[in-house]
């Protein structure tokens, strides 16, 4: 598995990822620079006294140059200090650790659903291009991509929670409360999240697989007398696996974003509702903390995918 080429690639990727992380922290911290006017006034809240504003300014070092502020913040982040919420006073890292598992459960279920349904749909459509099955899958995918996920969530709540009371309408249960209740609460949000992802997976897989299956070497394989099934499994899917990895990365990123909206519909106490509340009230330590956490997770996943590329396509690792 870990050939010398691959180890060298992993090392190179780690070196490449370092500036990405630095850039990401810079962007995250830079968010507060976008606030029009004096940020100390904004942070102090409505009707703050001059003394309070001065106190805020000193507390956050806002009188210092931007790079000094950034360095101070980054130093804190490196030591696990994301600051405290301006609203609740709670340590941001604690809130993130408390709320993140709730969001991750929904996103994980949604990702599993989208792969379990999207991949077979994509293969079905790609192996019968132009057929009725293809038209059906393409239509479903178009619908899934166009469907506002929070609207689907509302329809699901109205039907399965309010009308038939099969699933709970709101709230979440952690895995520690037992697999059953946790999944029961996660079911509707995951389905609402997965709809777009299923469509995306099916659509991308179909288009790349159709391309591979209509290529010259596949024609040669046909001419050599290989069965269509053998061509699909041994050659077609192998060649689209790299595309599929890319799609998984994109879909995961999108699911992390989409869960923010879905959590609002189901009143789920995850990181999504946390960041929306913080954005409305300009609670910057919370905004920065959550955005940074999400970005770091996505960067880590992309690193993993980059390494996996070389497993599926050895040409990528060589130079």
């Amino acid at each position: 598995m870990l050939t010398r080429d691959r180890l060298r690639l992993i090392r190179r990727r780690l070196v490449q990822v370092a500036p990405v992380i630095v850039l990401a922290t810079f962007i995250v911290f830079g968010l507060q620079q976008l606030v029009p006017g004096d940020i100390a006034v904004t942070l102090a809240g409505d009707n703050a006294t001059d003394a309070r504003i001065a106190e805020i300014r000193a507390l956050y070092g806002l009188d210092r140059p931007f790079l000094a502020q950034y360095g101070h913040w980054l130093w804190g982040v490196l030591h696990g200090d994301l600051g405290k919420s301006l609203l609740s006073g709670e340590v941001v890292l604690d809130s993130i650790f408390r709320r993140f598992p709730v969001s991750l459960l929904i996103v994980g279920c949604a990702l599993a659903l989208s792969l379990a349904i999207g991949i077979p749909l994509g293969i079905l459509a790609a192996t019968r291009p132009g057929s009725r099955v293809d038209a059906f899958v393409t239509s479903i995918a178009s619908l899934g991509v166009a469907l506002p996920n929070f609207w689907l969530a509302m329809l699901l709540v109205a039907t399965f929670a309010l009308n038939w009371t099969i699933f709970p309408a709101t709230g979440a249960k952690p895995l520690s409360a037992g697999l059953g209740p946790a999944l029961l609460h996660a079911a509707l949000p995951s389905i609402a999240l997965a709809a777009g992802a299923i469509a995306e997976v099916a659509r991308q897989l179909r288009s790349s697989l159709v391309e591979v299956l209509s290529s010259q070497y596949v024609r040669t394989l046909h001419a050599k007398g290989l069965s269509p099934a053998a061509i699909l499994w041994r050659h077609g899917l192998k060649n689209v696996s790299v595309n599929l990895l890319t799609v998984i990365g994109l879909v995961f990123n999108r699911l992390l974003g989409a869960t923010v909206v879905i959590e609002a519909v189901f009143a789920i106490p995850g990181i999504g509702s946390m960041v929306v509340h913080a954005a409305i009230h300009k609670d910057f330590p919370v905004i920065q903390g959550v955005v940074l956490a999400l970005v770091l997770i996505v960067i880590a996943l992309n690193l993993l995918i980059d390494v996996l590329y070389t497993v599926f396509d050895p040409r990528i690792g060589q130079k």
Partner: protein, 277 residues
């Protein structure tokens, strides 16, 4: 123009989506004339009313006419989608072309920036930027566009890397064609197809992003109508008036479908290898 009409006559799906989008554009422009009522006039004696002759889609929780609010919501929606996607194209396509074609340290630097921006979940960054800039539609959609641009850039870069290795590009280079000419004459036409598909998807995604932001209360502000904001109100009355959520949701769905369908049709129409079949 004649070719466009001929294309629309041949391709029913394209004709339908163009027709729908034109209708939407017309409604956006003519909203004050077409809408039966003011979108903001409240009628507290007539809230959450069933559809009737005076209110074809009923009234909302403040007694405002749902159809009128739906019509007045169209311009906000179109504006938001096109703003975000235009920002994404203007940044993403040239950056991707240059990174893929020039290679070397330029590619490395651009790729790192692309990787970084792509790592931010679009909606979350849009929410964060909107929170910083102040709640509002334009701020949010510019942010969404910036977050979309690396998606396009990465796609264009990947396509460029593939096309760059083709023999005809080497041939052009041997004949002394400039970088600009090679990019424009050889790389762009051969790399553009997936970009068009992606751009269309992005129009729909931008539309959904606007709806999401407005649903969360970060986009269009009350009493201004927007489909997402209408759904946010409908959400609070879901138990007593579930029918409130149908019209705005269907409007969003149809518009997103129209963008997607148009893009798919364009892809077929623009593909040089499919033209003569």
């Amino acid at each position: 123009m004649r070719r466009v009409l001929a294309w629309l006559r041949r391709d029913l799906r394209a004709a339908l989506s163009v027709g729908f989008l034109l209708l939407l554009l017309g409604l956006s422009v003519a909203a004050p004339v077409v809408a039966p009522h003011s979108p903001t006039r409240q009628d507290v004696n007539n809230t959450l009313h069933e559809p009737d002759a005076s209110h074809p889609l009923g009234t909302d929780d403040l007694g405002r006419d749902v159809l009128s609010r739906l019509i007045y919501g169209a311009p906000a929606t179109l504006y938001a989608s096109f703003l975000a996607v235009t920002v994404a194209i203007v940044i993403g396509v040239p950056v991707g072309l240059l990174a893929g074609f020039l290679g070397g340290w330029i590619d490395d630097a651009i790729s790192r920036l692309i990787d970084t921006l792509l790592s931010f979940p679009a909606i979350v960054l849009a929410i964060a930027v909107t929170g910083a800039l102040g709640i509002g539609l334009t701020n949010g959609m510019i942010a969404v566009g910036i977050v979309f641009s690396p998606q396009l850039a990465r796609l264009v870069r990947a396509q460029t890397l593939i096309v760059k290795q083709e023999l005809y590009v080497d041939a052009a280079r041997v004949f002394g064609a400039s970088v600009g000419r090679i990019l424009w004459k050889h790389v762009v036409p051969n790399a553009i197809q997936p970009v068009i598909v992606q751009v269309t998807l992005l129009l729909a995604v931008a539309l959904l992003a606007e709806a999401s932001l407005s649903f969360l209360g970060l986009g269009v502000q009350p009493p201004q109508p927007s489909w997402g904001a209408m759904l946010a109100r409908a959400y609070h009355y879901m138990e007593i008036a579930p029918e409130q959520m149908y019209a705005p949701g269907i409007a969003i769905l149809l518009t997103a479908l129209a963008f997607n369908a148009l893009g798919e049709s364009l892809r077929v129409a623009l593909d040089p290898t499919m033209k003569r079949r």
